[in-house]
């Protein structure tokens, strides 16, 4: 039986990657908190992860050959970055005069939570690795 890293590491490898990509999206929001007309964005972690893991098999998707084609919500293969279309726009709680929809408190909270979840994913992944190491050593 061949050892496949995809099966061995489970969901955590993808989760860790997605967490770091989400942190980038939220960092962009915080960076643009004073830019007029900037619309805050975020990705739906659960659905993107589902697509990455291929669990969303029932969903019908268009075949695309370019990232700018419509109907390519995520780059569902491999570990590539999140597609532009997977990023959704946040619904602002309060309208602002300059058209900016960044809520700094919300983004800060999301970033902190995401960092924590990133750590959790990392712990799980690290656990997988140390488990494998233990199995290899056979002590």
């Amino acid at each position: 039986m061949a050892i496949s890293f995809n099966n061995a590491l489970g969901v955590h490898e993808q989760a860790l990657l997605l967490r770091s990509q989400r942190s980038q999206v939220i960092a962009t929001n915080i960076a643009n908190s004073d830019t007029p007309g900037y619309k805050a964005r975020d990705l739906d972690f659960a659905s993107v992860l589902k697509q990455r893991m291929g669990l969303d098999a029932g969903a019908m998707t268009l075949r695309t050959s370019n990232a700018r084609h419509i109907g390519d919500p995520t780059v569902s293969l491999g570990n590539g970055p999140v597609g532009e279309d997977a990023l959704m726009y946040r619904t602002p709680l309060q309208p602002s005069l300059d058209g900016n929809t960044v809520d700094e408190q919300l983004e800060n909270a999301n970033f902190a939570l995401n960092a924590l979840e990133h750590q959790a994913s990392f712990q799980f992944l690290n656990g997988k690795f140390s488990g494998m190491m233990k199995a290899l050593r056979g002590e």
Partner: protein
Amino acid sequence: MSLMSIFDISGSAMSAQSVRLNTTASNMANANSAAASPDQVYRSRQPVFATIQAQMLNQANANDFGFSSDGQSGFGVQVLDIVESDAPFQQRYEPEHPMADGEGYVYYPNVNIVEEMTNMISSSRSFQANVDVMNSARTMMQRVLTLGQ
């Protein structure tokens, strides 16, 4: 690597915010600089922020397979321009002022101190938020580096 680009994103925001803090400092320092005529008077300066769109261009050019080489969701901030305010400046009647014109008027800048104070607080808070983001990203990266140890 997407954690790496957080440093660029937050860094660009930090430099934009410090430009904003600079204009605020300049405005407040010159709030009481009198001038002899309307065209010599200091005008309040304000930076214009804009999202960096370079990533969009990269995506259009170098990307035919649905993958881009680095994280494509990251946009930084740039200072597009620094504009001088068109708000009416103050004309005060001070005949004893050495710079007073023939009719005894001195011209003062159109700097709104309350606005500038608000700008100052807002920019320093935003700066702080970006420093926090950078710090968290650093911790996250350091943690990932210890994977499998």
